[in-house]
Symmetry: C2
Subunit: 147 residues, 2 copies
DNA sequence: TGTTAATTGAAAAGCATTATTATTTGATTG
DNA sequence: CAATCAAATAATAATGCTTTTCAATTAACA
């Protein structure tokens, strides 16, 4: 895991470099994304910030995520059911392990993926630019909690 | 690739066994899914069948896909942008290679995934039940077509 | 401090999918 | 080979998440 403070600074600097204003709402969103503990959703970001800024609009969270995404500083994990989770701590594509019970999302250590990518490129004659790998299952906590 | 005729029969039999009627609309949908050439979308299935049944409703395509999915006879590839593609020829989870230019979807041969799944299970203490692996890139045809 | 373009909040619009409902129809039975 | 009836269909309305709109606000810069 990258240092959240360094990630925060890096994202802020990127915003500055591209001529974007640093509003309190924006800073609050970046702060949460820099850590991305548990891979937050738009909704959970909104709820957390509302405690401090009661007028914070959901549209503002969406808008800022679109902006930060366009700068390549947050990884969006969009799911077919329409839900989205974010990782601003590590914005590069990487595998995820998702608990279908408690919705926890974890970053596993896996290095065999690069080799796999090369295999696929050779076999299919594609130029591979990106990838997405999700494992779905039940986490240890939820297994233990089962009756 | 499985034999489309055998897949067609298998899906039809599954429908019969579960007490579902075999309507002409349903048979037309199953026929396309059994082959799943190019991993069709709801829209492309609808367009193809409309040529024969001009009154075919889009809702009917959706309904039947939900049904066939519930019987485990089609794999749904849902994308974050809301689009969906289907594979009724091989309904088990498997990797896909997707061309971002022409939207072609290909099934690569990859066997190292099972091992990876075991690694992840051990490392994260999850019980892995399912997975999704997509590679995004540009296919040979689109590379060649580039000016 | 004043100027200005970016950003915001609130509400409306957009859009793929799902639900509703009246009508039609496949399958079963005798 | 009809009659029956639950299942399926077509058409349309509703849903729910995300984006857009627009007037008001504000960060940045001189
Ligand atoms: Mn992650
Ligand atoms: Mn496939
Ligand atoms: Zn869990
Ligand atoms: Zn292509």
């Amino acid at each position: 895991m990258a240092d959240p403070k360094k990630r925060f600074e890096a994202i802020i600097q990127k915003l500055r470099d591209n001529g974007h204003k640093l509003t309190p709402q924006r800073l609050a969103i970046v702060k949460i994304l820099a850590k991305s503990e548990g891979h937050p959703s738009v909704e959970s970001i909104h709820v957390r910030i509302k405690k401090e800024f009661s007028t914070m609009s959901l549209a503002t969270v969406y808008r800022n995520i679109v902006l930060i995404k366009s700068l390549g500083e947050v990884l969006e994990l969009g799911f077919p059911d329409g839900s989205n989770r974010y990782d601003g701590n590590n914005p590069e594509p990487h595998p995820h392990v998702i608990c279908i019970k408690c919705k926890k999302i974890v970053d596993p250590d896996l290095d065999s993926l690069d080799e796999m990518k090369k295999e696929v490129a050779v076999e299919t004659n594609f130029k591979i630019l990106n990838h997405r790998l999700d494992f779905f299952g039940i986490c240890g906590d939820c297994m233990a909690a089962k009756v």
